[in-house]
């Protein structure tokens, strides 16, 4: 909580230190001094900074994040449009990274020091080394432009219409509405950016999983499980992976931070109308309420993700649960 307040203050103060004049940046054309005055009044920019900050907090408590100067809509509304898009992308990407990262890490650990291990190690290093924006461009060029395997951007084919808004995540909403073709279309659009976002986290998770699994495998209880004559599958999934899971889960917080960073780049390249694109556009247009709103949202995500990770850790590790 204190953290969130700190984040609001920092983002607010930072954005309001900008030397540019938001009125000039946002008024259509021919801004007259009186129009600038009206703009400043409307956006509360005529008051001293501490007062603006205080007002921001008051409005925040009322669920009011101010009005975006860029879109003319309430920031809360803009966020509510952008968040599901990013959430869909981020969650899919994390799921992809988890499946492959944990899988690769597990295989690497089980085949430790073998050729597979070496190849997976290189793969994981490539994953964390490749510049996301460059990978996105190459993927766009090859997979979309040359091969046409994936669509080139946006969330849905133009011929399709968005499913009824429930969660705002098109795949989920399409399923809820029972629109299979829309679901596949949304998924099709989702996969490429999600995979690109997943590359770095996949590398990260491969490494973490591998070392977590190796650490687990050194424990007597794994030898004990083998000594019980359990099948290999039970030993690997029921015992080794089960024990490594809590430490793998702790990486998810980090993975989310990576995804948010990557989202700024990937969303811009794939015309994905999410938080990354919104944040980037607001920062270039000095849309102060929007920037503050995005920062706040990201901070909330950070806090929530870390909380969820903590809870999950407790669920997975009964030793923590008791404490």
């Amino acid at each position: 909580m204190a953290l969130s307040i700190g984040i609001v203050v920092v983002s607010f103060v930072l954005t309001h230190m900008v030397p540019g004049n938001p009125a000039l940046a946002n008024l259509g054309q021919n801004p007259t001094p009186s129009e600038i005055r009206v703009f400043d009044q409307r956006n509360g920019l005529d008051k001293p900074l501490p007062v603006q900050l205080g007002l921001y907090f008051v409005h925040l408590l009322q669920g009011n994040l101010g009005t975006s100067q860029q879109t003319g809509d309430p920031v809360a509304h803009d966020l509510s449009m952008a968040i599901p898009a990013t959430a869909e992308l981020a969650i899919t990407s994390i799921v992809i990274a988890l499946i492959f990262g944990v899988g690769f890490g597990l295989v690497a650990a089980l085949r430790r020091d073998g050729v597979t291990d070496f190849v997976l190690r290189i793969l994981s290093l490539v994953g964390v080394s490749v510049p996301t924006f460059w990978l996105a461009l190459i993927a766009l060029y090859l997979l979309f432009f040359k091969l046409g395997i994936f669509p080139g951007g946006s969330r849905l084919s133009p011929t399709d219409t968005a499913p009824p808004h429930v969660t705002g995540m098109y795949t989920v909403d399409a399923l809820l509405a029972g629109r299979w073709s829309t679901f596949w279309d949304a998924l099709h659009h989702l996969l490429m950016p999600a995979m690109i976002l997943a590359a770095a986290n996949m590398g990260l998770l491969t490494r973490y999983t591998r070392s977590a699994v190796l650490e687990v495998m050194e424990h007597d209880y794994i030898r004990a499980a083998k000594a019980k004559g359990l099948s290999r599958r039970t030993v690997v999934f029921g015992h080794i992976l089960r024990a490594a899971l809590p430490s793998i889960v702790t990486v998810i917080g980090l993975a989310f931070a990576n995804v948010m960073t990557g989202a700024v780049l990937v969303e811009n390249i794939f015309s994905w109308p999410g938080i990354g694109q919104y944040g980037y556009q607001s920062s270039t247009t000095l849309d102060l309420p929007a920037i503050a709103g995005v920062s706040l949202f990201i901070a909330v995500v950070y806090v929530v993700v870390n909380f969820v990770v903590d809870v999950l850790y407790g669920v997975l590790d009964p030793r923590v649960r008791v404490e």
Partner: protein
Amino acid sequence: MSTASEAIELPARYRRLPRVHPALRRPLAVTGAAILAIWVLVAIFAPLIAPYGPDVLGNSLSAAPSSAHIFGTDQLGRDVFSRVLYGARISLPISALLVLMSLTIGSTVGSLAGYFGGVVDGVIMRIVDLVFAFPAIILALVVTAVLGPSLQNAVLALVVVSWPTYARVVRGLVMSASQREYVQASRLLGASARQTLLRDILPNVIGPVVVLATLDFGNAILLLSGLSFLGLGAQPPTAEWGAMVSYGTQYFQDWWMSTFPGLAIFSSVLALNFLGDSLRDALDPHGSWTTRGGRR
């Protein structure tokens, strides 16, 4: 007291002392070091190697790779190959500087927090948490929005977001190292806390920090080029790799404009990660990708 892993562990005095650092004997480390060495040489000797100046405008605009321009030319007729070579003079030293600054600030703050503990520690870690809550690029967006886009400001922004990593790591290392029995033994022998910090604690902290810095070096190149890609870092005509990729995307069909600078970023970051990963192995054999048997 006999477990299998311990039985494998051999007293080290029976091992031959290595001539080269063990990390360097691994193939990945050698590959990484070699690629990195090439880039460093390129950075130093760019004016000698590059066929053209980085900002010299030629007459053939947007030309595909040919014998005259092996990486082609860009929209202003500049030689992409030369610009990629000169780019090493920007990305590498500036990222190194960035890492060095974050490391210095982070380590100082981290050791102070770890050393003093208590309120100082509490305040510092709060700040660290605060910075951590922003993804690097978002904070960098805001910082560059405040200060204007330039390489210098991008570095500043990234320092702002990257020092906490070091602070956190160093603090943890200092705290755990000060709990070590050999540190306590030193204290009992009459060493002051400051003496042990310098003599017993920091030397044991440096290793992990060096590894972190090596890996972070690659990360810094990525972040810096990412910011330049978004137009928030290096500004034209600076031959910066990220900016070149971004510039190239405007002319998508002229693939050479963005492919080669992208490859330059990728190869240098990969080299650093190869090296850093191997160093990490050498330092922390536990769970590392080594070729030797494990030991506790």
